[in-house]
């Protein structure tokens, strides 16, 4: 049965009202998800903990009032007028502006017989129109956008406490690197700084296991302790920096310990005994004690056995790490790329002290490490740690041959700049 719509002007008026209601629905649908999100967050346990309940009620009321005002503003500003509704009807029924003309004309200015005829023509087109069918309410994309944004807000709120520590945590070795940079500025600590930098660089290698990391940290802690003991003036600038570096190492060790414990709870094949031993070692070093004679020079081969009990599959990795540790002990540059440039054959078993004679001597050695001047060595070590991997040649000549006196005819013509730290010695 066809819908009775009335006169053409009435049809346009009804459509305008309908479109206004659509606009209200649009507004409500757009504003509902944010309101729901705010309310939901208010009732979440930690959300409520952040703000008192009264504040949440206030925020909710404010949002509701804002929503109402926005809806009112939209309804007044964007609602379809009778003229626009008539235009839509004309488009729908191919009315050739009949409905617009009837909706906007001044009847008193037009001849009645023409007006009546126009109204009849429009009424004849009206049966083609069915408001519910031709102008149904459709959910606008803005609702879905609002919904997605609101859900994202809730999800973010829920996940924020969990992801915040991850986002704010520093890369391992970052603090160590800073300490090394500070130490490098002080004469006499450059060697230690270089080792710290090398350690920080190694700790960032993803292939390194936690056990190997702990071993490296432990060694460095021991070296720091020796250096601290050798420091003549306690409380000086160098001493403070050593303390800072030690603190950084201890924090790093604690972090590794915690990671180890978490891994041990869920992992398989980690022996309690091994973990306990490692923990004991770490605790001794964290307390600032010198390692015992038996532990001081642990043979590297045995380290995997004393480390946390890992599965057999990690054996290769560990042996590789131990090689790296050996280089550290041997006074190598320790940089990853530099290590790749050095032949990978068997290294010397130990270094000889000046004047010391042994049976085999340096027979088993396949290479030696050349110590460059401090600044150049530090730069080389730093660049290697950053992975640039290019050969760095010293810009200044390196030689042990003493220079001729200036009054000697064979004295060198060029003048070499004197490093600042040596100027105090020549006076």
């Amino acid at each position: 049965m066809p819908e009775k719509l009335g006169s053409p002007e009435r049809i346009a008026g009804r459509l305008a009202g309908r479109l206004k209601r659509h606009l209200w629905w649009d507004t409500l649908l757009v504003l509902f998800p944010p309101l729901f999100a705010v309310t939901s967050l208010g009732f979440l346990p930690y959300g409520a903990a952040w703000r008192p309940g009264v504040a949440w009620i206030g925020v909710g009321a404010l949002l509701a009032a804002s929503a109402f005002l926005i809806g009112l503003w939209r309804a007044r500003g964007a609602a379809a007028s009778v003229r626009q509704a008539a235009r839509l009807i004309d488009r729908k029924v191919a009315g050739q502006e009949r409905f617009v003309t009837l909706a906007t004309m001044d009847p008193s200015a037009c001849p009645p017989f023409l007006t009546a005829r126009l109204r009849d023509e429009a009424a004849g087109l009206a049966p083609r129109l069915k408001l519910e069918r031709d102008f149904p309410y459709r959910i606008k994309p803005s609702f879905f956008q609002s919904l997605i944004l609101s859900l994202s807000m809730i999800l973010l709120f829920l996940l924020l406490p969990q992801i915040a520590p991850v986002l704010t945590s520093e890369r391992p070795g970052g603090e160590l690197m800073r300490s090394a940079e500070q130490l490098a500025r002080i004469p006499g600590f450059s060697e230690l700084a270089r080792k710290l930098e090398a350690l920080a660089a190694r700790l960032q290698e993803p292939a390194l296991t936690d056990a190997a990391r702990r071993a490296l940290v432990r060694e460095m802690l021991a070296q720091l302790a020796r250096q601290r003991a050798a420091e003549q003036q306690p409380g000086g600038a160098g001493g403070e920096l050593l303390d800072q570096a030690g603190d950084a190492l201890r924090r790093l060790a604690q972090g590794l310990e915690r990671g180890e414990e978490r891994g041990g709870e869920s992992g398989q094949g980690e022996g309690k005994e091994g973990r306990g031993e490692a923990g004991g070692l770490a605790n001794r070093e964290l307390a600032g004690k010198e390692p015992g004679p038996g532990e001081k020079q642990q043979p590297e081969k045995k380290r995997p056995e004393t480390g946390p009990g890992k599965g057999e599959g990690e054996g290769k990795d560990k042996s590789r790490e131990m090689k790296g540790a050996g280089k550290e002990q041997g006074g190598g540059t320790g940089g990853r790329n530099l290590g790749e440039e050095i032949p990978t054959g068997k290294s010397a078993e130990r270094f000889l002290k000046p004047g010391e004679q042994v049976e085999k001597g340096m027979k088993g050695a396949r290479f030696v490490t050349v110590q460059l001047p401090e600044q150049e060595a530090a730069r080389e070590g730093g660049d290697s740690a950053r992975g640039q991997g290019r050969q760095i040649r010293p810009k200044t000549a390196v030689s042990n041959v003493p220079l001729r006196r200036p009054d000697n005819p064979e004295a060198a013509a060029e003048k070499q700049p004197l490093p600042l730290e040596y100027r105090g010695l020549i006076r």
């Binding site: 235009r87 617009v100 023409l114």
Partner: protein, 327 residues
């Protein structure tokens, strides 16, 4: 008069003219629309396209008086309007006004651009005021009155292009294009055979009164305020001097002057006439867009750049129709 009667008479007139004129259906319809809107028409086309025949057939179908004036450089205003001549009656000599050819209901001003500006302007008052003034005395013209002028677009030597003021007095400017091969064949059949066709009178008697009724009905056609606003926006958009209000680049680039208010009047009256022919008693957007080209193309004054780039007024009007929003 009822709209149905109007449409019937209009279609009869159109059919009578088309008995004689082959093709040019759009031109014939627009000439009739302009006639019932009370306007004058400028027909532009090369010689031999049937412009003169069209006008003669129209006047014959309408049953109105018809005069033809061939405009030449030596044509004087008095040759068109008329002049005082010394006449003797009852032994007394006195000046009597001898009416010129302008005193007819349908005037064909053939090749109007060949006459001097002085002669061209003599037609101005007649076209606008529908009266002429000679030696201080005004003589009203017959009603209905319509001037149909023709001009040849290809010959420039020895011609006097119509000034803008005179162009503005033409309701429509229609372009008469060459016939298609099919139409040309039909023309040959009709004109080279034994019998020649002629248009018959549509109005049995007192055609002037019927035309007056039709003209009155045309002005009563309903136009909605939004459509009037649309016409206003269209005409305003042709003004390059409108400044920031006009955002159509083609207008700024190619136009020196836009349309006068007469252009808007022509659009609305033409749209009303078109609506009646289409069987409606109200104007639609389609009516406006149908008549905007003949109503405004001679009212847009193109600049040098437009002529250099071979841009014509119709192209600019097409841009306007596309760019100016209906709402």
């Amino acid at each position: 008069m009822e709209p149905e009667k109007y449409r019937e008479l209009f279609l009869q007139l159109e059919a009578e003219v088309r008995k004689v004129i082959v093709g040019h259906a759009d031109v014939i319809r627009k000439v009739l629309v302009a006639f019932f809107a009370g306007g004058h028409v400028l027909l532009e086309g090369v010689p031999g396209l049937g412009k003169t025949l069209l006008i003669k057939s129209l006047s014959r179908a309408l049953g109105l008086s018809f005069k033809r004036v061939q405009f030449t450089p030596d044509l004087m205003p008095s040759d068109i309007i008329g002049t005082q001549v010394l006449a003797e009656s009852d032994g007394r000599r006195e000046f009597q006004f001898k009416k010129g050819p302008i005193f007819a209901q349908v005037i064909l001003a053939d090749e109007i651009n060949r006459a001097t500006p002085k002669t061209q302007s003599a037609v101005l008052e007649a076209m606008e005021e529908k009266q002429v003034t000679v030696f201080g005395e005004s003589y009203p013209l017959d009603s209905p009155f319509m001037v149909l002028a023709t001009q040849n677009p290809i010959e420039l030597e020895g011609t006097y292009p119509l000034p803008e003021a005179q162009l503005d007095r033409f309701f429509f400017k229609l372009l008469v294009s060459p016939p298609s091969p099919r139409d040309l064949g039909e023309i040959l059949q009709r004109t080279t055979g034994a019998g020649l066709r002629e248009a018959s009178r549509v109005f049995a008697h007192d055609g002037a009164a019927a035309v007056a009724q039709m003209q009155q009905l045309l002005r009563q056609v309903i136009i909605a305020p939004p459509l009037e606003d649309y016409v206003v926006r269209l005409v305003h958009a042709t003004q390059p001097a409108a400044g920031k209000g006009n955002t159509i680049a083609a207008v700024h680039e190619y136009l020196r002057f836009g349309s006068s208010p007469r252009g808007a009047q022509a659009i609305i009256l033409g749209a009303k006439g078109n609506a009646l022919v289409e069987g409606r008693v109200h104007v639609s957007y389609e009516d406006i867009e149908t008549v905007i080209y003949p109503a405004l193309r001679h009212r847009l004054i193109l600049n040098f750049q437009a002529e250099a780039e071979n841009i014509n007024a119709d192209q600019i009007l097409a841009t306007l129709v596309k760019k100016v929003p209906r709402d």
